[in-house]
Symmetry: D3
Subunit: 241 residues, 6 copies
């Protein structure tokens, strides 16, 4: 079977990680997974939220949002509706949790990094692109903090790297990194977040149609682990390591 855009089942879409996109932010990346484009900025500030003061630990959090016309049909702004929808909440929390899994908050010291992930154009996989790009922006913001001695030179605030990819079963076939047209017809949809050393930070699989069995789950996990390995390579290159 050939995929809609000619990829093989285990192939990622073209990945670009454009570092230093923003003039203002301490770290910033315009990440693209094919036509999905997400602007990730990392804002470094000294100090932590009130509930964490005096703990000696830092804080990392994230906010995700889609521009109203990032999608095929215009969506209402959440600021205009006056409240954030469930999906937005869910993804913001996922991104924050994923990044914190590789952050040593003690080493970060009482500093805060906020990752803003704004989807400029959506074509499936926005949350996984956001996590993958936000990690790079975070790495830059941490380096910024160390250069300015806001973080100790000897500290290692990042214990590893983190990347994410979607996988799914389309017409019975497990596929890596679904684009929008694949995503809407997938029977099962899964987002997997892995560390650079290939372990799991988050596994979220959902049966959109038929429930899935253990073999299907295993096939999807295999694909995802491979995809995250490739993304990790892209992150490393972008960071010039």
């Amino acid at each position: 079977m050939s995929r809609i855009d000619g990829r093989t089942a285990d192939q990622l879409r073209p990945l670009t990680i454009d570092r230093g996109w923003s003039k203002h932010a301490e770290g910033s990346v315009l990440v693209a997974f094919g036509d999905t484009k997400v602007l990730c900025t990392a804002s470094f500030t000294e100090g932590v939220p009130r509930w964490r003061r005096g703990s000696g630990k830092g804080w990392v959090t994230a906010e995700y949002s889609m521009l109203p016309r990032s999608t095929n049909t215009r969506g209402d702004r959440e600021s205009v509706r006056g409240k954030i929808g469930g999906r937005t909440h869910e993804i913001s929390r996922l991104i924050g949790r994923s990044l914190r899994s590789v952050v040593d908050t003690k080493a970060l010291g009482e500093n805060t990094v906020v990752l803003d992930c704004d989807v400029l154009q959506a074509d499936g996989g926005t949350r996984t692109a956001a996590i993958t790009g936000a990690y790079v922006a975070l790495a830059d913001a941490v380096a910024w903090g160390q250069e300015r001695k806001l973080i100790k030179a000897s500290a290692k605030p990042l214990s590893g790297s983190v990347a994410a990819v979607s996988v799914g079963i389309v017409k019975g076939v497990p596929l890596l990194d679904l684009c929008y047209e694949e995503d809407v017809v997938a029977e099962t949809d899964m987002n997997v977040v892995c560390t650079g050393d290939g372990r799991f930070v988050e596994v979220q699989g959902t049966a959109e149609g038929e429930p899935f069995d253990r073999d299907e789950l295993n096939a999807l996990l295999d694909l995802a682990v491979g995809g995250c390995r490739d993304l990790e390579k892209g992150q490393r290159e972008a960071l010039g390591r």
Copy 2:
């Protein structure tokens, strides 16, 4: 290793499913997973939301909430704060999705069932208790609709049953159905939703501390599948089947 409440690693907490708790609702269950108590009511109404009218299909949705003092420390009411938090949104969506996985909306006809899952007392696993109880309330509401001929006698709106359980790794040991004290110290936390025939509807695993590897993931899935099988038995008994 002995667990805090004396259970074995693969043992559920005492399960009670108290059907017909409410005088008003078309289906209602007070479900208990040990000290976790959730009131699940199913409200059956003719008609569907505007966006679904004329489709010939029904709709099933869910809302989850915690009473302010269901927890050890009182939490603010979301109605008073004027907005629903991310966690509440996330769980409401999970419950709705899980139930819809066994609903044949065509067979349901243009009817709506709303499941309200209100946590009266929380001791870990509130979302999994909610799904497990809500399925029974939903089954009763569907039966109510069939008795009143709002659903065709020959229709089978439920294609199967659904139950959910939490699993996690505590001090390196995979455990089934975590109580609150286990939950807060777990390194990895996973919620698994299964159909009565043992397939997966939803798998949500999160590393709270160290990332987890494939072997740990497999051990957790084994426990969860066994736990859901036991819960399904409890659901069947409660429904007198």
Copy 3:
């Protein structure tokens, strides 16, 4: 005339006061006035709201809410609508005021008790059941505070007890403790809150249809005073005094 449920005009519905319902709260009661069931929890915390700090006085407040399907037809959640309705506000304020009428805030010291009254099932008289149950939960929370020396042993934070009942005129006949079916057809509806010694804390009478005259008002007050006396006896028994 015989009432719909066979009671005499001056008879309360069956009263149950189930103390210690909750594992977490410092005081808790599941109170039932017939089919009306309200879960009342009292949360004791050291300290007072900012505006009261340094006054040496404590604070007692209440929040009332109905579960969406506590009623015959499902109501929208106020958390989902994003605002609290007028009726909810009004009743929360009434409960708080009623309880404070028997609290000596100086004797309570700089401690706060929040009463949450959540209606699990509604059949008329939810606010009066809430007040009657909340008083017992409050008494338990105050005792809890005295055992832990957060309140002085010699202090008497409660100057008396408080209970409440509804009365109304149905087809020209004054009746005590209206159930829902009586309530919706009542020409006049009155809620009366009394202290244990038979004095008034709150009298709220409303003509739903025809205005009422002085004689009718007097007949209703007589019924209410008698009803509160009976409720106070139930409270005393529940508290084992």
Copy 4:
């Protein structure tokens, strides 16, 4: 005992009812109870809210609000805070209920009258002034509708008149129509709404300090009935009857 402003215990403050204050509204009154000034406008529109359409019946409702500096200390605007407080809700509902008690909605036909009661200056008794003034504005709006044949000439949409006054016990003495300085020190506070023929529409008595007994309640009711009789005379004069 002489009152702070020299009145006798059963004496109203100077009453002025300035009809036709607004150029735009179908009925409008600037009512003053001493220094308490409330602008009451009645907006007549054809048609009724959706839930009442086709019933053949009209609708009358009210909204109460205080200008931020109508009081001694500036209060935040509810529009800025983004929600309406409990007190505002409570009073709006009271005004609406009081006016509807003298409206024959069938005779009104499918028309709506909204009463806006905005407190320009507050000195105690704002809700009772609002009810008293709003009745006159309502009468003018109904007359406006009849002149324009939106209401049948033969119909009598108003079955009577309605007025309201506060009473309270200050240092043990029952007083009529409390000004702010009396109100804040009152042990018991009561608002009474009467029809023109001296019957009760609403009785709301609250013990602010000590609970009150039956004799005190009776003394307050006597004062209130007398005060409403005087207010009704003022309303009649203002309407030129």
Copy 5:
């Protein structure tokens, strides 16, 4: 051409500035531009918002609002809708900015004056009437602060006066101080805020229909400068200078 109300093109509507309208506010004015009536109160408080503390400078801000039936058709309350509309925001900001242009915040010291401008009746030009009236209320509040030594006797917190007027082009003719009927048909609409010495604080011109050219702009500015001069005279008289 004769205007709808008989004025010449460069003539203001009758101006009244009723000082000391409110019993409570430190400064207050009921200002009328013809049938447009705005109640402006100035609330003086010691201290400044948190972000300004320790700066030695004071703060002046404004809030504008319209009563629901100040207009020909009733508008919903912003408090009921739960948010402030764009127009309200815009005008509040304009009033605040205009007043601050003549305030020396250093001379004011760490004190705050809040100007509330509530439109009781609208007939065009509500924002310009609000600015013109608010200046007088502000002057009174500043004088109040100086009498009470909250502002140094030698300080001059007001560097000048400020007034505002609308101008517009109606059927090709530039007109001063548009009433509502003129405003709705104007091709160009402009609000101009001037200091007492004839300089500009704010110029806001908008083409409602055809764009306007430089000559038309100049004609409008000429009219506005003349109108502000007349208003400034009215302010001075009202202040008894």
Copy 6:
């Protein structure tokens, strides 16, 4: 005097208009005024808002927003705060009004175009860049509608073009197209919107410090008219005319 970035007083920053940026929108432009970058998308939909149905006329509106880290210091998201700020409201309204000034809504037919202007990076002049870019996106969306016959081939929905620029007085010198560093120290700040033929659609001048006189106003208008002429040329080139 040489400007901070070496420009002459009457020189625009480098202008780029990147058409067709978005895969989804009917018209889209990434516009840059120096370091200020705004993504403008035009969403074309058949039909109009309810209040305009049956009029035969179309509707054009705009929404402006800043990404949280488009600025030097991160700002809170308005969706998280739950309400839109005054500045955002004001600018959204300005953009919509400016575009409508060149739209013949009758020729547009009952179609709606929504312009979303999201600031990706801010360095002064975001609103003027938004208007200038949005016009080009609008032109593309209108062309899209004509190609698909949703607008009549013979219709001319755009009566002209529109562009905008900021001007201001910095240290006494009138300057064109202020960057952020100039903007914050400007004594007077003015935004001017012109049509392609050099007439005014909107003139908004504000004294940030000292009031400005007629000569200064004239100098600023001269600069703005010249700047808009240059921008119009850039728009024409981008559209390939």
